[in-house]
């Protein structure tokens, strides 16, 4: 049977993505659907994983009866919404700094990327527990000026968040290594001729920043935002991870309930990312051609 050129190409294409496709079906799609299915049941682990349909009961319980689920969820979202902007701004700032023609640039890049390599979950947790997460130079001055007191006095209810952040600041900054790299790559992709042309037209430095640098960076910004959100929700030693693990593998071994919790978590993340992506059409500027 002679295939047309297009058909042959299509076949080659399928051959190349075949491993991925198998993996996707086996290790992603099927568990995904299974998890959805399980979440509507209770699983009896003793009787060989038999399922018993309970409808939305798991979901209802997660939101109404369980006193741990909703607060943990809210905390995860709140942590993310505080951490991600901090990471993004800090990474951008650091990327600018390391983009300069300074001696020892490679050393600084090496340092900023180091946490990516050694940030294993437990190690980070231990460091945090031993107080290495605070800003070293600040910890003594903080004790003297009673910064926490000041914060509470001026910020009111938001103080708790700021305080948490300051305690975790080093660890938050540690998770910004990849973002710094992405920004760097983006910065170096902006051609200098744009700036020169703008200067010839009399642009001031601020204008250059807002009208050239930021827009040219916006695709990378989008990638960074999505990556940071996903990272914040999945990577660090996350209370949600612990919670779901607790449901599933300790205590009562309630796999159906754990699946429901996992699904709610996923939906929250999905909605957030969807919102980001949809809004990106307004603020992302693609220079050149888009395929």
């Amino acid at each position: 049977m002679k295939l047309t050129l297009n058909q042959r190409r299509a076949l080659t294409g399928f051959v190349f993505i075949a491993p991925w496709f198998v993996g996707f079906l086996l290790f992603m799609a099927k568990p995904f659907i299974d998890s959805f299915w399980i979440s509507f049941n209770t699983v009896d682990m003793m009787a060989g994983f038999s399922l018993k349909w309970v409808g939305f009961q798991n979901y209802v319980e997660a939101f109404t009866i369980d006193e741990r689920f909703v607060p943990t969820l809210i905390r995860a979202v709140r942590d993310m919404s505080v951490n991600v902007p901090v990471i993004l701004v800090f990474a951008l700032f650091t990327a600018f700094l390391t983009n300069q023609d300074l001696i020892g640039r490679a050393f600084f890049r090496g340092v900023f990327f180091l946490p990516v390599v050694i940030a294993s979950g437990l190690v980070v947790q231990q460091l945090f527990a031993q107080g290495a997460g605070r800003l070293a130079s600040q910890s003594q001055t903080m004790a003297m000026i009673d910064v926490p007191g000041l914060i509470y006095m001026y910020l009111g209810p938001a103080a708790q968040i700021v305080n948490d952040l300051l305690n975790r600041i080093v660890l938050v900054l540690w998770s910004s290594g990849i973002q710094i790299l992405l920004y760097l790559a983006g910065l170096q992709g902006i051609s200098g001729s744009l700036y020169e042309a703008a200067r010839c037209d009399g642009a001031t430095d601020w204008e250059l920043f807002w009208k050239i640098t930021l827009p040219m960076l916006s695709p990378i910004l989008l990638v960074n935002v999505i990556y940071s959100i996903v990272d914040s929700f999945t990577d660090r030693f996350n209370p949600m991870l612990d919670l779901i693990r607790n449901y599933a593998f300790t205590g009562q071994f309630r796999l159906g309930y754990a699946a429901a919790a996992g699904w709610v978590y996923f939906l929250v993340i999905f909605v957030i990312i969807l919102a980001v992506v949809l809004s990106s059409r307004r603020w992302v500027f693609y220079a050149g051609e888009r395929d």
Partner: protein, 312 residues
Amino acid sequence: MAKVLENLRAKTVGAPWFLIYRRRTENLFFQLLMYLILFNIAFTFLYPVLYMVSTAFMSIEDFVDPAVYWVPRTLNWDNFQLAFLGMNYKVALKNSLVIALVAAVGQLVSCSMAGYGFGRIKFPGREFLFLLVIFTFIVPPQTIIVPLFILYRKLGWIDTYYPFTVPTFFAAGLRGPLFVIIFRQFFRRQPWELEDAARVDGCGALRTFFRIMLPLSKPALVVTFLFSLVWHWNDFYEPMMYLMKPQNFTVPLRLSILQSSLNEVTGGQAGEFFNEPLIMAACLLVVVPPLILYLFFQRHFVESIERTGLVD
């Protein structure tokens, strides 16, 4: 031309120039300021590491001694010995190494193939399938961990290397979709003339891939291999789920049961030895292998992302 720019530069006012683009400034003050900020940030980054190293060498007396801040009085290697024994380091190291290396290779092979298919070959449904790839990147492991666990249980893969290694040969595994995306972006940027030339010379798709595209994709290969290695080494969540017997644990996992393992080693006296310096020594043992890798290949880690053309 330079004079024109000079005049322009003198006239501009407003934002800190360093926000714009890179150039070496003649202004010493700004340079010093730059270095000051950078060093400050670098120190903040390094502080936990320095803390870890210095604490690991302390004996407990040094640790509680308020006069001792960074440098312990004596270099105490006991903690390392104890941590080494307590974590059953040799066995755990082997476990971690096998998993990390095999997984990295697996993702190299499968993600590059998938990326090539998505990036260079037009086939129906390509866009939609790639959307699925992006989708899988977003799904948190918590959502699918339960059915995956059941699956592995049925396959008898619990407590083996398989749950960590087999999926990586199918572009799944830790952050697998990310690597597929990276490869796809990379391959898309390659000139089409290369493939045309290869076809004229009689290469089929497979040979084009192996002989031409793959060697070209070294930056992406480096990124995938290094990151996969490091991420699998540091992974804690999946080993925690799928490994039951302590002798199969990976190194980070051993850290988590350190206290109880200590009991075995010290004959029930763990409480006496389990203190912060010991924990730090154990953490160092977890961290040192990827750290060594990083020290040797730091340039590759940092620069390779730029070279893959993931950006623009």
